[in-house]
C-alpha cells in the first residue's frame, strides 16, 4: 500500500487541511510562492522556500561551494520569477558536517552574493547548525509585486497558447555528464550543459515583464520538468494541455552523449525556465512586444478543455498521453 501517492498529493492534503481564508493571505499553500497583503502596504509580499540536501539534490564532488551557494539562492528566486515578483530578501539556514572549512562556508556565501543568483535580493539572516549527515541548505526568499500584478499557476483557460522561455533539457543533459564522471569537459556544448545545471539563471526580469504585460493568464517555473510542472498548472487552472513534440526548444547537443533531447526536455528537471499561457487572441501581440533582450520564447502547445489530461502530439498528428516522469521526491515510495 502506498504511503502517499506523490509529492503533489501530499501538498494537496496539507492544503485541504491547513488553508485559511483570511484577507491578509491572498494565496497560501500550493503555488510557487505564498502571496501576502501586509496592512497598508501598496504591494503584495511573496514568500517561497526551497531546501537542498546533499545526496538528494546535489553531490559535493560534482560542484564547488560557490556554485552550490549560487544555485541554492537561484532556485528560490526562480519561484519568485514564476509569480512575476521582484526579489527583495532571503534567509539561509545551513547545516554543515565537521570537516567543512571556514573557507568553504565563505565561498558558499559568496556564491549566494552573486547578482546573477540573488537578482538584487539581500541576505538578511539565517541559522547555522552542525550536521551529522551531510550538508543541508534551506532558503526562504521574499519578493514584492509591482503594481499588484502577480501571476499564479491558476488562471489558464482552454485555448490558451503555451510558451516556454529558453532551452529545455539542458540542465538534465549536464547532470547526465556529471553522473557519467565527466566533470571538466573540453567541448563547449558539454560545458554549457554542466553550467546550466550548476548555475541556473532565474528568469526574474522576464517573469516581471510577463506579469506586467497583462497578456499572460498563468505561469509556473520548470523546476521538476514539463511532464511534472505542466500537470500542476493544468490542475490549478482546471484544464488539460496538448504539447507539440516538434515545437519543444530542445538541447540537441545532448545527442553527442547519447541522450534523447526530447525526453530530457519533457522529463528533465532544473531548467528553471518559465512556462506560461497566453490567450490565443493576444499571442501575436505578446510575441511582437516581447523584448529581444530576454531569453527567446517558443510556443510549445495549448491548454485544452479536458481537465487533467495532458497529450503530446507527435509528428503525423499521433497523440499520446504524456506520462508524468519529472522529478518527484516521493515517487519511489508509492
Amino acid at each position: 500500500m502506498p504511503k502517499f501517492a506523490s509529492e503533489n498529493r501530499l501538498i494537496q492534503l496539507l492544503r485541504d487541511r491547513y488553508s485559511i481564508n483570511v484577507p491578509l493571505i491572498k494565496k497560501g499553500i500550493g503555488d510557487d510562492a505564498a502571496v501576502i497583503r501586509p496592512k497598508h502596504a501598496g504591494e503584495y509580499l511573496l514568500i517561497t522556500t526551497d531546501m537542498l540536501l546533499e545526496g538528494i539534490d546535489f553531490r559535493r564532488e560534482w560542484t564547488d561551494p560557490r556554485r552550490l551557494g549560487f544555485k541554492s539562492v537561484a532556485v528560490n528566486m526562480s519561484d519568485l520569477a514564476a509569480m512575476g515578483a521582484k526579489p527583495l530578501f532571503f534567509t539561509v539556514s545551513l547545516a554543515i558536517p565537521s570537516g567543512i572549512s571556514r573557507r568553504w562556508i565563505m565561498d558558499f556565501y559568496d556564491g549566494m552574493a552573486e547578482p546573477d543568483s540573488n537578482k538584487g535580493a539581500y541576505l538578511i539572516g539565517g541559522d547555522l547548525s552542525r550536521s551529522e549527515n551531510g550538508i543541508m541548505i534551506s532558503i526562504t526568499a521574499l519578493g514584492e509585486s509591482l503594481n499588484r500584478k502577480v501571476l499564479y499557476r491558476s488562471g489558464g483557460k482552454a485555448g490558451d497558447i503555451l510558451y516556454v522561455t529558453g532551452v529545455l533539457g539542458r540542465s538534465a543533459a549536464g547532470l547526465k555528464l556529471l553522473q557519467d564522471g565527466c566533470l571538466h569537459p573540453k567541448s563547449r556544448s558539454r560545458q554549457e550543459a554542466i553550467r546550466a545545471h550548476q548555475r541556473p539563471e532565474p528568469r526574474c526580469e522576464t517573469g516581471i515583464w510577463l506579469a506586467q504585460s497583462g497578456l499572460v493568464h498563468c505561469m509556473i517555473d520548470l523546476s521538476d520538468g514539463v511532464s511534472t510542472d505542466l500537470p500542476r498548472m493544468c490542475a490549478a487552472s482546471g484544464t488539460g494541455a496538448e504539447i507539440f513534440r516538434n515545437d519543444l526548444p530542445i538541447f540537441k547537443e545532448a545527442r553527442e552523449w547519447e541522450c534523447d533531447p526530447v525526453e530530457l526536455a519533457l522529463h528533465g528537471g532544473e531548467d528553471f525556465e518559465l512556462l506560461f499561457a497566453v490567450p490565443k487572441s493576444k499571442s501575436r501581440l505578446l510575441e511582437n512586444r516581447y523584448p529581444s533582450k530576454y531569453p527567446e520564447i517558443k510556443r510549445i502547445g495549448r491548454l485544452t478543455p479536458d481537465s487533467g489530461k495532458i497529450w503530446i502530439t507527435e509528428p503525423g498528428n499521433k497523440r499520446l498521453r504524456l506520462m508524468d516522469l519529472g522529478y518527484d521526491h516521493f515517487r519511489l515510495q508509492s
Copy 2:
C-alpha cells in the same frame, strides 16, 4: 588550528561581510529576527528562521510527531517574542526519510497548528523532500511590529536591571530525564520538566507587552542558555553583566534526579524564556505595571560598564567570571 571559534564568531564574519545599509532593512543579520520596513507599510515586518535536525536537535524516540511539530514552530515564535513582534505567518520545509507514514506527517503538521505553538500565525507554504539521513525541519516565521515598537539585543546600558521570565533550567532538566531513559515518569515534577522540553511555550504576549511598555532597553530569548545568550546581549549592547546566583529562578525539583539546578539555569538551553534589561529608574514602575497573568518576572542581575565581561556573584559576594557553557553548534570543532 580551529576552523572557527564558535557560532557567534561565524555569524559575526557573515555579518561583517554581507551586511548592507539600505533603508528597506532596519536590522539584518545578527539579532533574533531581521526587521524590514516594507514600502508604505505602517508596521515593520520581522523574519526569523530556525532549523531542527534529527540526532542534533531531537531524537524520534524521545518525542512524537505532534510534539515535534509543536516545538519546531514554537522555537521560531520565541524569536519573534524576543523582539516584541506579533506572529503572522510561517513556512515549513520538511525532509523525511523513507518509512515515515502519512499519519506521522499529519500529526507533525497538527502539532504546528496548535495555537499555543504558532500563537496565531498561519502556515502559508513550504517545501517537502525525501531525506536519506533522518528528519530535517526548517521553519521561517514572519511577524509584525505593533506601533513600530521593536526590541533588539542592543540598546542595553550599564546599570540596567536584568530580568527573566519564568523558570530557568527546567527544559534541560527534562532533557536529562530523557537522556537517562526516563520517558514516561509518574512524578509531577519530572512530567513538568519533560513537558517544558517537548512543548516550550513561546512568550509572545509577554514579549509584546514588554516592547509596548516603553520601559525595556533590550531583549533576547533564552534558546541556548543564560551563559551563551547573555554574552550575546552584552556584545550587542557594548556592556558587561553581573548575575546574582541566588536570584536565579531555578527549577529546584531537578535535584531529585541529581542535577544542579543552578548549573541548569545558567547553561541549560531551550528554556525559551525572555531575558531583558530595564533602566534602574524604571524597574519599580515595570514591576508594578507588569500584568500578573503573564509568567512571573525576576531580577537576576544588572548590566555593567566592563564590556564583554560577565560575572556571577555567589552568596558572600564572591565574584567569578561566568563561563560560556551554553549550547553552541560549533564549540566541539574549535
